[in-house]
């Protein structure tokens, strides 16, 4: 007499046995086993015939947008520092270093061969004077050169200080334009707020290709009906200001 063996019956039903002899013998000699086998086959046929669930294009686009938005919003939790954060650190570090070197050089030039202790004392008093609104020493040629370098670094730091890598986001907007074209705003706003904002910023004739819900809510706009390397404009929804234009 065969022993009731659920695993064997299930395996026979889903066709995963290399040798079915033993299982076939089992269901032929055991009414309960046969009934179990028929139930398993019947249910399996129903389940296997069920189509795979898939996202539609809208859901897929929303999923990708939401994931990338979330990863940009809190990249530090990934343990991976994105390139634009790393470069902003480098730019900030460079800015501080150049600024410090420029202050130190200026002070050393003006005090000549004084000792280091005196030099730092002078620097301290110079900083105090500046903070108190006192007069500053005239700029030397070396100061002027370093000033120009500082200005360049300041521009780089300001670029890095943008809250998000808009140039990178613009590239993504161009790449995803086909998916997003002609979409209407998904932001929960008062009626007409988005349209009014686009009128104010002079972009009413452009296509809304993406929306970003970051530190502020941004509308990502591109010209209608053009192809190639298009201009991408980012408009902050709260004050309708254009915050960045790429291209």
């Amino acid at each position: 007499m065969h022993e009731h063996d659920p695993d064997l019956i299930a395996a026979l039903a889903d066709g995963s046995l290399d040798d079915e002899t033993e299982a076939r013998a089992l269901i032929e000699s055991c009414d309960r086993c046969l009934s179990e086998y028929q139930d398993q086959v019947e249910v399996l046929a129903l389940l296997v015939a069920t189509p795979t669930a898939r996202m539609n294009d809208l859901e897929r686009a929303a999923l990708h947008r939401d994931i990338w938005t979330e990863l940009r919003r809190s990249p530090s939790r990934t343990g991976i520092t994105p390139w634009w954060v790393r470069w902003s650190y480098v730019a900030a570090g460079l800015f501080v270093t150049v600024g410090l070197v420029s202050v130190l050089n200026g002070q050393f030039l003006s005090i000549g061969g004084d000792s280091a202790g005196e030099a730092f004392s002078e620097i301290g008093s110079g900083l105090d004077d500046t903070g108190a609104g006192g007069e500053q020493a005239p700029l030397t040629a070396a100061d002027a050169d370093e000033g120009a370098e500082s200005a360049t670094t300041t521009a780089a730091a300001e670029e890095a200080a943008l809250p998000y890598p808009f140039a990178d986001l613009a590239d993504e907007a161009r790449a995803n334009r086909d998916l997003a074209e002609d979409r209407s705003s998904q932001f929960s706003t008062e009626a007409g707020e988005v349209e009014e904002c686009l009128e104010l910023s002079g972009l009413a004739d452009q296509v809304l290709v993406e929306e970003l819900d970051l530190d502020r809510r941004y509308l990502v706009m591109m010209p209608e009906g053009e192809t190639g390397d298009l201009t991408v404009t980012f408009v902050a929804l709260d004050d309708c200001e254009i915050v960045y234009v790429d291209g």
Binding site: S16, L46, A53, R54, M55, E59, L63, I67, L71
Partner: protein
């Protein structure tokens, strides 16, 4: 390079901050993750949320992947655990029927929703099967994963998976039989 080797390589690139690699990993697995989540949660919006949470976790924990299983198996385990979290959270908040970004009047959205739906009698019967048996049946019979894969994902021995699949199907058969007789 094998598919498994390629995926492991992709995940290593994700760890080093390669966005394209993460995008490739996501696109390779997003449909099945969504499908698993939809079957477990039986709610499209929650399945999309769970899919999103799954891939955020994949990105953030990519460095913790040990390579003991296939990348896909690791991802589906995260998906199943994310769904369990969703179920726990759902007990504390009301459920809405459709996501905001799906326009019900959009024919493609409607079509997608209908094609993904289980036949009503199967859906009702599955809902009556206890979760541990239902999830084994979903992964094994609906998603077509192997028993070792299901065991990895559910973090139980293969013998337990076999037993759960067998008993899950039997419960399902009984539920369907009850529906036919009622």
């Amino acid at each position: 390079m094998t598919s498994a080797g390629h995926e492991t390589e992709l995940l290593a690139r994700v760890v080093s901050g390669d966005r394209d690699a993460f995008d490739d990993v996501m696109r390779a697995h997003e449909d099945r993750v969504f499908s698993v989540c939809l079957r477990i949660l039986d709610d499209r919006e929650r399945a999309l949320d769970a899919t999103q949470d799954t891939f955020l976790t994949v990105f953030r924990k990519a460095s913790q992947f040990q390579g003991r299983s296939a990348v896909g198996t690791w991802i589906y385990r995260i998906a199943v655990n994310t769904c369990y979290d969703q179920i726990r959270r759902a007990k504390r908040r009301p459920i809405e029927s459709l996501p905001d970004h799906v326009d019900p009047s959009d024919p493609s959205a409607e079509e997608a929703i209908e094609s993904a739906a289980l036949r009503p009698e199967i859906e009702i019967a599955l809902a009556a099967v206890p979760a541990e048996f239902r999830n084994a049946v979903i992964l094994s019979d609906l998603e077509g994963l192997s028993l070792p894969e299901v065991a990895e994902i559910l973090e139980v021995p293969i013998g337990t998976v076999k037993s759960r699949v067998f008993r899950g199907r039997r419960m399902l058969a009984r539920q369907l039989g009850n529906q036919n007789t009622s």
